[in-house]
Symmetry: D5
């Protein structure tokens, strides 16, 4: 199953640069594992913002939630989950790629 | 350049089923051409809605606008254009794919 | 998989009472089939409104979308899909029931 | 009487992990009692968020308010209360279950 | 049980003055019955608008919904239902009245 | 003149329980005086929230503002003031009461 | 008593220019009477819009509502009523004028 | 040129009463000067709120901005600037006053 | 004086293509005059939408309003007027150009 | 490529005047470089607010994002990026200038 997520990050203003950097490094390391597992398929940054769009694959909703709740930045994220299906034109996209 | 679009379709209620079907067929034929040209890269339907997310590639903003304005359904679409860049983790995504 | 849907119905004002009644009967007959298939688990009306909450089970997102898009009232519905997982307290709920 | 609640939790960022854990444990213990009393009928977590939907039964509005105001997390909750009635199709749901 | 309702009326622009008057008369006659039954306790118009606040008493949510759905203007109303309980100061209000 | 007020209370999270209790006691004592003066006619709590609806009588807008600005909780309140007139059906309400 | 009103006008698109002109002339004639009575004190147009701000004086809320409901354009207006009191600096304004 | 401003004040909760009073006194003294200069023409408080409407005259936009940015409370204000022109009925208002 | 306008166009769905084209041609001819007069300084289309940003110069607010109200498309436009002043860095922009 | 940005600045209330001044100076120095590079073309302040509109040129979306993320005030900015194309009337604007 596919999900498009829109994620907004709000790092608390009272964080020191060290805390922010540490959080970011742990987040990236964790995300890298999710990519290698095939859970996090793609991720794009929205220009000029602290937001991103990302495409996730998960076999169940329980797996998706556990994955997101395990992100080091989870307490600071606002996540919108859009369940997706292939558009009727999706096959054409794949064969064109 | 990459763009994530969120598109909502509102077909006027007074359309006959024939008008709706005709519009839909012309839209799909047009979209197919855009896929084959490499302009429309991916398209997903949001479950339970008349909305979709789609990923577009365009060499210039002029090309992107002309492409969207040329869609047969353009007068009935509400389009939100999100300019994207690769997330620092994008390379990992590609090599994992 | 479970989904909580919030659905708003807007019947066009120009519908005749006969059209509205016919639509309603076809919708109910269709919903009854979905209940018997175990797809539509529960449905509640929000007091004083034309909205309802409903709990759905679907094996895949494709099945869920096809089911919703097949509703006779689909063109007149605004559907919000909330993917759900069991809360840690869910087992207690079930054993208390 | 039935009520569908949508609850958003915002734990203050200055809470220590110990304070958060303690709050969570007291909330869960309290919720367990409400389940055993038949007040809290069902509870689902919305995937990827700190929100949940829950179905409550209360004999009066006074009982419902007193129950919610007694939750240890009440000062940190944003609660939307939707009064519900059975949908005309509810009987079919129950007999199908 | 008490409920505060905020109701917005939108009469379709294509109604003739006769249709509007007829609707208004049937609505008022119906509301008068609800007042005499003790269901509709108080009603106030919000200055300068087509909205009103009203205070309702109903023994069950089913009765409240059936009452509202039976209003001749129901298809043209946007109703927000606020379940109420007495404020701790309510007794003082009553004895002061 | 009558006014329906919708009031939301947000006690700052850094308040100690003693500060909150003290504030609440002063607010209630003050409100009690307003009830006895016939300024605050009725007050209802919205179930599950920190909000209330209340009905006020004031001879002038200056009196109403001075009364509200004098509430001990005024700095923490978000107040929406709805000027009301009797609905054409109001007489029926009163005679039915 | 003083009130600041923000009024948005939406003339239905299906009106003929004659209907629109006729409505506008009746509205202006009516407003002129209200000005001469001292009810409508000032009126300003918001640049580039179909909205205006206006300052009204009314001895009671009933008079204000009856006045607004009597405007020929009332069915096409969205009116926001802001009850006002003199700011502590108002006297300085008047004596400076 | 005329401008209608809607201004919301949010004094930070951590201000001491002394800080708030001092700020208020400096704001009032400054506003008084602006009144005497003919820049701030009228000011009204919105009943029950920390907001006000005010009417300003400025020969240029630069003067208006410099004036507002010079207010001691400027960092705590949310200002909405509505450029105004005289309504066609304005002359009648003036001659009636 | 400078103003940044954000304009949304909504052509009614019942317009024929001829009506739409005629409207568009008259709008463009009119806009061309405004450009030649130095009133409309710049205009940009927002990619993928029926909206545009435009920069206007007007000696008074009356001139600006009369100009906008004279646009053939004015009844179908939603216009947001932002009064602007030069940013402290504006001189650097000009000399860099 | 052209982009219209709407930027809102929220300096944290706990900043000392020295911190705010230092931030502002670094921001201005940085913006000056961007102007000299031809990246930041124009910038206007919205009257009475802490917001501005600005026109940017960037050869790629990556360059635009890197530029914005490098602003000293970036953590305190809310940026809305509007991709622009020339309006059909743009040539007339340029030749009129």
């Amino acid at each position: 199953m596919l999900f498009m997520l829109h994620i907004d990050l709000t790092v608390p203003h009272h964080f020191t640069p060290e805390q922010t950097n540490d959080l970011r490094q742990r987040e990236n390391a964790h995300a890298l594992e999710l990519i290698q597992q095939g859970t996090l398929l793609r991720i794009w940054r929205v220009v000029g913002t602290h937001s991103n769009y990302s495409l996730w694959s998960a076999s169940t909703l329980e797996v998706l939630h556990a994955t997101l709740a395990g992100l080091p930045m989870f307490p600071y994220l606002k996540i919108q989950v859009n369940p997706l299906i292939d558009h009727p034109l999706a096959t054409a996209c794949t064969s064109a790629a």
